[in-house]
Amino acid sequence: MHDASTLATRPIPAAAGIGLRAPHLQRVLAERPRAPWFEMHSENFFGAGGAMLAALERVRSDYPLSLHGVGLSLGSADALDGEHLATLRALVRRYQPGLVSDHICWGAIGGIHLNDLLPLPFTTEALDLMVSRVQQVQDTLGREFLVENVSSYLTFRHAEMTEWEFVAELVRRAGCGLLLDVNNVYVNSVNHGFDAHAYLRAMPVAAVREIHLAGFTRKTDLAVPLLIDSHSRPVDAEVWALYAEALDRFGPVPTLIEWDQHLPELEVLLAEASRAEALIDDRRARAA
């Protein structure tokens, strides 16, 4: 095992990596496929020991690693779960990931966890809370933290600002990085009828540290079509177009292909990543 002191942070390159899920772990460890970086879910490594941590150790020694959380529940009116945060802190210290992130959402109230990325009302009360929570996390971890915009299936009537105003203001005031999920921007633009391009234009260019891409499904049994952020399909053509626009605006940014449900063979994910990589390379060539 590596000693924590010998593990230097490996920055995440401005290239296209993939979300590494448990069913692909053994193949990745055995075959060491060419991939510029991997992202894994922080909570999968919250055990005290065992096979998952051993695998993380090996992935981390061969690839740049990003740790992406789904369970901090940053925007909950409950206090942050101190044990959760302490476990994350220990994990980050031990494995020194290139990036650490979680979502602009809530997931728990009154001690009950719903284990989902739930929508916040875009109010100053929620914004103030998110700012203080992100600052608390950055103080605890002693490093920059990234927050990600989520897909949503409803908005609240008492919203005081748009989603993009909320996100931009949060990132500005908390002094954190932004993990811009382009698929989520597109999904929400359809679900809530706003201009995805305006959303991108509102994002603080200098704060965008990472981009997520994933596939959505179309829920058609309702009165209006609803896009569901299912991470179960290839990236949609509209999302690729929006991604190209994002690269024009934010420059070459580390980009991640996420796939969680109906997980295909590793090759399919790597092929999606190659497609993103080609777009990044194209922007880099044009900038040169």
Binding site: G50, H113, E125
Partner: protein, 260 residues
């Protein structure tokens, strides 16, 4: 016009709605072509799906024994009675065995709660801390007059059942076509992490009593006494050799001083 809720009020109302506890969160939700309740239902479905999937993953033998439909109905009730209390789903489902034991529809399957207990212990073993086994060749200085206590591997778990719980678990998790022959006797099971997997082994009542005593911090003499009460022919040395061979002894203490 509804007054704007404070964040806590909104989140409590949202949680009540998606957990089917009533309330009127719909009044805060923009419809925009859909009934607000239908929008909340999208979340209710996703949340239930994630939590039920987690139980499916933790309890594959229970799932195989009761079938998908029964399992889903039981899991759906469980998650409402014992809501998740952590953002990390690895901790969700620890009371499922007790829930099944109290479930009238499952009362005919008397072994089911113990199968669930075994599966939860399996998850605990998988996630427990690492520890290097004691090197049996390393010289140790022992004071013959002082009691010796062993430190066992953090992943070690024990289950004593009135049912042949391991035999049933193996049958239920076998790929297909397994044949189950039960003689009605109970089984004592030892679980521990062996490489990347969790090993499960049936053991005799005396060994189980000995390991249980050692695991709860009793010294060797006390553990031996417990085992002899179960079987007058119990062989302590053989039991210890087996524990050491499996890498399950990680240290020992004498007079309260820890040696590893």
């Amino acid at each position: 016009m509804t007054a704007a809720p404070a964040l806590r009020e909104l989140q409590c109302g949202f949680a009540e709605a998606v957990l089917g506890r009533g309330g009127d969160a719909t009044r805060w939700v923009t419809g925009a072509g859909l009934a607000p309740a239908a929008r909340l239902q999208v979340y209710a479905n996703t949340i239930a799906g994630t939590q039920i999937d987690t139980l499916r993953g933790t309890y594959p033998a229970v799932l195989a024994l009761v079938g998908a439909e029964f399992f889903e109905a039981a899991a759906a009730r469980y998650r409402l009675l014992h809501p998740s209390t952590r953002g990390n789903l690895q901790g969700f489902g620890g009371a499922f065995a007790d829930f099944l034991a109290a479930l009238p529809e499952a009362s005919a399957l008397t072994y089911l709660p113990d199968v669930a207990r075994l599966e939860w212990l399996r998850q605990e073993a998988a996630l427990a801390a690492d520890a290097a086994p004691l090197d049996p060749t390393a010289p140790a200085v022992l004071d013959d007059d002082e009691p010796v206590r062993l430190m066992l591997h953090p992943s070690l778990r024990l289950l004593a059942s009135a049912h042949p719980v391991l035999t049933i678990w193996r049958y239920a998790t076998a790929p297909a076509g397994g044949h189950l022959q039960l003689d009605g006797r109970g089984e004592q099971v030892v679980l521990w992490r062996d490489g990347g997997d969790v090993a499960l082994a049936a053991t005799d009542a005396a060994s189980h009593a000995c390991i249980a005593a050692l695991a709860s911090g009793h010294d060797l003499d006390a553990a031996q006494a417990d085992a002899l009460a179960a079987d007058a022919d119990f062989d302590l040395a053989a039991c210890l050799r087996s524990l050491i061979a499996q890498g399950l002894v990680v240290g020992f203490t004498q007079t309260g001083e820890r040696t590893t």
